[in-house]
């Protein structure tokens, strides 16, 4: 059974440990394909998730409460008949109650996965999955700074598709303006954006979209007390966090997103990277109707001190000629005469 995840903050390891196939929905072949004109105010991403849930009844879709559009998209997808859909309550705060919610949701997701035919994992299986994904995330994080943008996006997509590592190609030294791309999910159908930015004379040195480098933040380093592999002797586990606890903590403590309240963690993640990579401008990518990202436009400018271009994605995937034009003007503005 294939389980599509709509957020990188839902542990794919947990799904795989249940013996099911976890897939980031952004990279599914049929995702954002032929989305019809949208009703007023509906986000194209959320609508595409709803449509995929309806079109692929043999697969399951895990929605989240991270935004109103997805939360209510779940309502729309399940209002007529129950589908294989699950709504994961992603807490916005970082309080003890939020941690408790995340743990409880993870447990509830486990029960859902069992109803889909999955098997409740043993600690060893879960440890194994966690160790594998932790290692891939670590390698991808390390590979980020010198990587070519599109190739890096493909590597991250590969990880979110099957959990494996593919080394991205390294960026050739070039005089192009270094840009950061931040915002919501950037699916495979939208990767043309990288080419457009390069054609305009820029290069993405930081992919802070939901499906870029930022999605690799979960780590079990801080909870590394759990034995690294199934060969660990029982006595090594005494007094150490159980893998389920480490999994929950590794995600909730490292989640970096603008829906968090306060969303200071996002800026704490972003600021040093902007400096380290000598970013000269930021492209803020968001879907029409996404209030959470759109509202950050001004704050991004204030916090970074950099120019920010707002790019709005709608039902048509890719980059419109108008947006290509705007990108070109933006990059020209950043390029020293």
């Amino acid at each position: 059974m294939r389980v599509y995840l709509t957020s990188p903050w839902i542990p794919a390891e947990w799904v795989r440990a249940h013996g099911l196939e976890a897939r980031g929905i952004w990279f599914a072949d049929t995702f954002r394909q032929d989305t019809p004109p949208l009703a007023g105010g509906v986000c194209a991403f959320a609508e595409s998730v709803v449509r995929l849930a309806e079109a692929q009844p043999d697969s399951a879709v895990v929605f989240t409460t991270a935004c109103d559009q997805l939360r209510r998209g779940f309502d729309a997808a399940t209002v007529c008949e129950p589908t294989r859909a699950f709504l994961f309550n992603l807490p916005a705060t970082q309080t003890p109650a939020a941690r408790q919610i995340f743990r409880a949701e993870l447990a509830r997701l486990g029960q859902f996965l069992v109803t889909l035919g999955g098997t409740a994992p043993t600690p060893e299986i879960l440890r194994h999955e966690m160790a594998q994904s932790d290692e891939v995330r670590r390698r991808l994080r390390a590979a980020a700074p010198p990587a070519a943008a599109r190739s890096y996006a493909e590597s991250v997509a590969r990880f979110h598709t099957d959990g494996s590592f593919a080394a991205p190609t390294v960026l050739d030294p070039s005089p192009a303006a270094p840009l950061a791309l931040v915002g919501g999910p950037l699916g495979a159908k939208d990767w043309k954006l990288f080419d457009t930015m390069e054609a305009a004379g820029g290069r993405v040195v930081l992919n802070g979209t939901l499906t870029g480098e930022r999605s690799l933040c979960p780590t079990f380093d801080g909870n590394a007390g759990w034995p690294p592999d199934s060969a660990a002797a029982d006595h090594q586990s005494v007094g150490k966090p159980k893998p389920f606890d480490a999994l929950a903590a590794g995600y909730i403590d490292n989640l970096v997103d603008v829906f968090q309240r306060p969303n200071t963690r996002f800026y704490a993640w972003l600021k040093p990277r902007l400096l380290d990579r000598h970013v000269r401008g930021i492209v803020l990518w968001h879907f029409t109707g996404c209030d959470l990202w759109r509202a950050e436009w001004q704050t991004l400018r204030e916090v970074s001190g950099l120019p920010v271009l707002l790019l709005e994605a709608d039902e048509a995937a890719g980059v419109s000629p108008r947006d290509a034009n705007r990108l070109q003007a933006f990059v020209e503005m950043l390029t020293p005469a």
Partner: protein
């Protein structure tokens, strides 16, 4: 006894003089409605129709003097609490503590309407990074920055999690601008799974005990912050008293709604009912006076019903109205076109339901907060609307969209679908901006078509 009638502001000038000559006694915030136009630039009042009763005069004066009364409270040394988004929960706690006065800065969303945009709040919000793609609650942002409306709160608390993205995003922007916010988590309400302990909530809802526990823990944190501000712990006894007082307001509102909505014709206009219902949220910043205002209105409605005196004819189409309107004029428009309100869901039905008094107070408040129609599935909200439509004999349903509000993109269709499927009632969805004059012909045509459809069904 004067027969019920709706008056323009000019007509109210004469009516006020007449009442004054007859010995009208008013509270400290009383006076002619005209002064709100002159002093506060509440120009929209000149376009509204008001009920002609002294009770309505008191209601309007209570509403329109809120900022002034808050400033007076601050001057007296009281602490001001800004509650945001939860609509009806934090104020119950704040008013339980002596020396605290809570209000919703969210209420600034009506300022552009009342001032007919002369305040330029929406344009200022845009300059602060929040443009017209957001709901009119963005007016709150510049109101905080320019300090020309409500006093800056001593403590700001905002619920987050399963809330509207618009509001959450605007509140976050507010925090970035330097206004510290105490965030508390509101989980998305769900049905208990098999084997989970369930808790009954108001409105025929249930939620898992784990969610109630979570909200209770968050309210406990909020209680600590409020207690610190008040210099006194909010203990169970104080909170229980606060809940009893809040329930007094809720009981009055329930009686008022029943008296008006169930009557053969409307004893009070829709606009005054909308304003009265809003008092449930934070008692319009004065709990005791709020009770007096509602008692007056209820007495007026009862007296009119007993005399068979109404502001609408018995032929008026019975409309159930969903969501608050950004422009108050829309409520007049509905009645001008031959409709009347027979039920409403202005997004805070949980603030109208009684808070259980037989549970530990924080648990009771947590259960009430979790019954918020906006934190659960749209189907729950739709189910309550269907029940109330059925109970009140609604002939049609209007879902009023709030411009830019993220929840409106989907839930309107779910609610309308449920109403059509269950009750086979005609429904329409309308978007009402802060000042709807330019759209009035189109809005009017759509409402008229709805009324005609509803009337045509009577003969079948």
């Amino acid at each position: 006894m004067t027969a019920p009638r709706k008056l323009s502001l000019s007509e109210w000038d004469n009516r006020y003089a007449e009442l004054h000559r007859a010995g009208l006694r008013e509270p400290a915030y009383g006076g002619p409605l005209r002064r709100h136009v002159e002093r506060e630039q509440d120009f929209r009042l000149e376009q509204l129709q008001f009920d002609n009763s002294p009770a309505a005069l008191r209601l309007w004066n209570f509403l329109l003097t809120e900022n002034e009364r808050l400033h007076q409270a601050r001057a007296r040394g009281e602490k001001i609490v800004g509650a945001m988004k939860d609509l009806g929960t934090i104020p119950v706690m704040a008013y339980a503590l002596p020396g605290l006065r809570a209000f919703y800065p969210d209420g600034a969303w009506w300022t552009p309407c009342l001032m007919e945009g002369s305040d330029k709040l929406l344009q200022q919000a845009e300059a602060l990074g929040i443009d017209a793609s957001f709901c009119p609650v963005r007016a709150m942002l510049p109101a905080f920055q320019n300090g020309e409306h409500f006093p800056l709160p001593d403590l700001l608390l905002c619920s987050t999690g399963a809330v509207c993205d618009d509001f959450s995003a605007i509140a976050q922007r507010l925090e970035h601008l330097g206004h510290a916010i105490f965030w508390w988590e509101m989980p998305r309400r769900r049905q208990p799974a098999a084997g989970e302990t369930a808790c009954a909530l108001a409105g025929n809802l249930t939620a898992p005990k784990s969610q109630v526990d979570c909200v209770r823990a968050e309210l406990q944190r909020a209680s600590g912050a409020l207690g610190q501000l008040a210099g006194r712990e909010l203990d169970a006894a104080l909170l229980a008293d606060g809940i009893r007082a809040a329930n007094q307001v809720r009981r009055l509102l329930a009686e008022l709604r029943q008296t008006v909505y169930a009557a053969p014709a409307a004893p009070l206009p829709a606009l005054e009912l909308l304003v009265a219902e809003m008092l449930a949220l934070h008692f319009c910043s004065d709990r005791e006076e709020c009770i007096a205002v509602l008692e007056d209105l209820l007495a007026e409605a009862r007296a009119r019903r007993s005399r068979n005196q109404f502001v609408s004819g018995p032929e008026a189409v019975r409309i159930f109205w969903v969501n608050p309107v950004a422009d108050l004029r829309a409520m007049n428009l509905l009645e001008d076109l031959g409709g009347r309100i027979c039920g409403s869901d202005f997004m805070f039905t949980h603030a109208l339901d009684l808070i259980p008094e037989d549970l530990p107070p924080l648990e009771a408040l947590a259960r009430t907060a979790l019954a918020d129609p906006m934190v659960g599935p749209a189907s729950d909200r739709a189910a309550r609307i269907v029940r109330e439509c059925h109970a009140n004999g609604a002939e049609a349903v209007v879902v009023s969209r709030i411009p830019g509000a993220s929840h409106c993109a989907r839930e309107g269709e779910i609610i309308r679908g449920s109403v059509r499927q269950t009750l086979n009632l005609p429904t329409i969805e309308l978007e009402i901006p802060s000042v709807c004059d330019a759209l009035q012909p189109a809005l009017g045509s759509r409402l008229q078509a709805l009324m005609e459809t509803a009337r045509a069904r009577r003969t079948k």
